[in-house]
Symmetry: C2
């Protein structure tokens, strides 16, 4: 009986039915488990693509490696990103299925505080998914959602994947494209857009192609970016320009790799095998 109960508790807590029970926030991997569940729910609702689940898994692994917290190079990148977005004439925030499943409310809030437009931009675009994501954004307070009837195309990408809104990404000078595919990030860079991405994998093509790469979990990054936007909104233009001008994305990405490297070294030196158990 004891074993049976502990099994039930364990399964409930650890794996699938996060919504039905309260995971104690003290659980060492509370957030990771909660957002894993949100992605699975997103797929069940038709918001997130199947490949989005795999992408989420990749993100989880990199998040383990950085330590599941916002590290200094990510904070530096976020400050530069917010400065650039505040300086932009036509800032646009792109939304895909994973973003809509994980941070719908924060996406809408970030767009509002930055006066940025929101555009749905899907790798596996179907009208059904676009519609569902738009609903989620409107439910979370969006006033306008672009990308529903896109009429323009990003050069170098084929039709479905390249579709963009004339009043959104097409016209944008600065674009925030979180959790984005490398091909599209590259195509946007080629169009001369200033591209900001959020990507937990510092080795991904998106991470390497973007002008500013925030290597952080979007569930931590967006709330922090909202705070930063509120704080930095009142800064003089010159201060914002200085933040952008002194930002070096290569340096920031190298710092992330060094952070991961040092963490692995520490774990490796700790004699963790068999004797000590980490919460991994």
């Amino acid at each position: 009986m004891h074993i049976r109960l502990s099994f039930i508790t364990f399964s409930l807590i650890l794996f699938l039915v996060v919504d039905m029970v309260k995971i104690p926030k003290s659980h060492p991997r509370y957030w990771s488990l909660l957002y894993r569940e949100k992605i699975i729910e997103g797929m069940e609702k038709g918001i997130t693509a199947k490949a989005g689940l795999i992408a989420h898994g990749r993100g989880e692994a990199f998040d383990y490696l950085i330590g599941e917290k916002t590290i200094p190079p990510a904070e530096t990148a976020m400050r530069a990103a917010i400065a650039k977005l505040l300086l932009a004439k036509h800032p646009v925030i792109s939304v895909n299925g994973n973003v809509a499943a994980l941070v719908p409310k924060e996406t809408v809030e970030l767009a509002k505080v930055l006066n940025a437009k929101l555009e749905i931009n899907l790798f596996y675009r179907t009208e059904e998914r676009v519609k569902k994501i738009a609903e989620v954004l409107y439910e979370n307070g969006a006033d306008e959602v672009l990308g529903i009837n896109p009429t323009k195309r990003i050069p170098g990408l084929e039709s479905e994947r390249g579709k963009v809104d004339e009043n959104g990404i097409w016209k944008a000078d600065v674009i925030l494209v979180p959790l984005e595919d490398g091909d599209r990030t590259e195509a946007l860079c080629r169009m001369g857009k200033f591209v900001i991405t959020v990507d937990l994998n510092p080795l991904s093509r998106s991470a390497r192609m973007a002008d500013i790469t925030i290597v952080d979990n979007i569930v931590r990054a967006y709330p922090r970016m909202i705070e930063l936007a509120k704080e930095m909104k009142s800064l003089p233009k010159e201060d914002l320009e200085k933040i952008v001008a002194t930002y070096d994305n290569s340096k920031v990405l190298s710092e992330v790799l060094i952070h991961i490297r040092d963490r692995l070294t520490k774990l490796a030196e700790g004699g963790i095998w068999k004797k000590e158990k980490l919460d991994i």
Copy 2:
């Protein structure tokens, strides 16, 4: 028309219908894309669990870090694993949903060359999934598949997750449990089994609990293990025993971490951003 055709070609080639067309093998991420598709197909067929998709993504992340190739410590671990399996009285190879989706043919071939039994062993066990995985194994040439009506239980695991076959894992002296959950690996070790795992995450509990940990992608490891088994089958027993006796799993795992660490250092120093593109 041209654009439409190239879109169709591109989508077909790159993402979803890999089985129907040939992805050019020259594509830098050919294997990763092919097996990602196989996992999605596995889920659609009811072979792979949803959580299996996320687990696959975690594996992809660690495969990025090791460089998407078999590294020397993995080769060392595979040699020791094959030696131990050839020496075993009752070797068993465990099969779960991800394994069945990724390497069904190789699993059957490896079992045959090692005279090992095959047992279906699922974390999210349902009779439906067991049946479908058994079908896949039989289609790929298996003569016998255990785990369909398991009557024994691994002590310390609750009923569904602990079910094992009396003639398989229950009786086994050496078990190959690839892509396995940490709890089960630990429970098998406690039963006194010699446990070999294949896991891309060198920090996972499975990796740390197992007697031999092959940190490699199973799609590369299984074909190589089949080759090794054929080569090593003719070795004298003493030679095999020597390979096992001199094997040190902690050392091998440390070497994996050092490999990743050195790779990250090189990348961090190399200025890979934007200018140079790596095939990552």
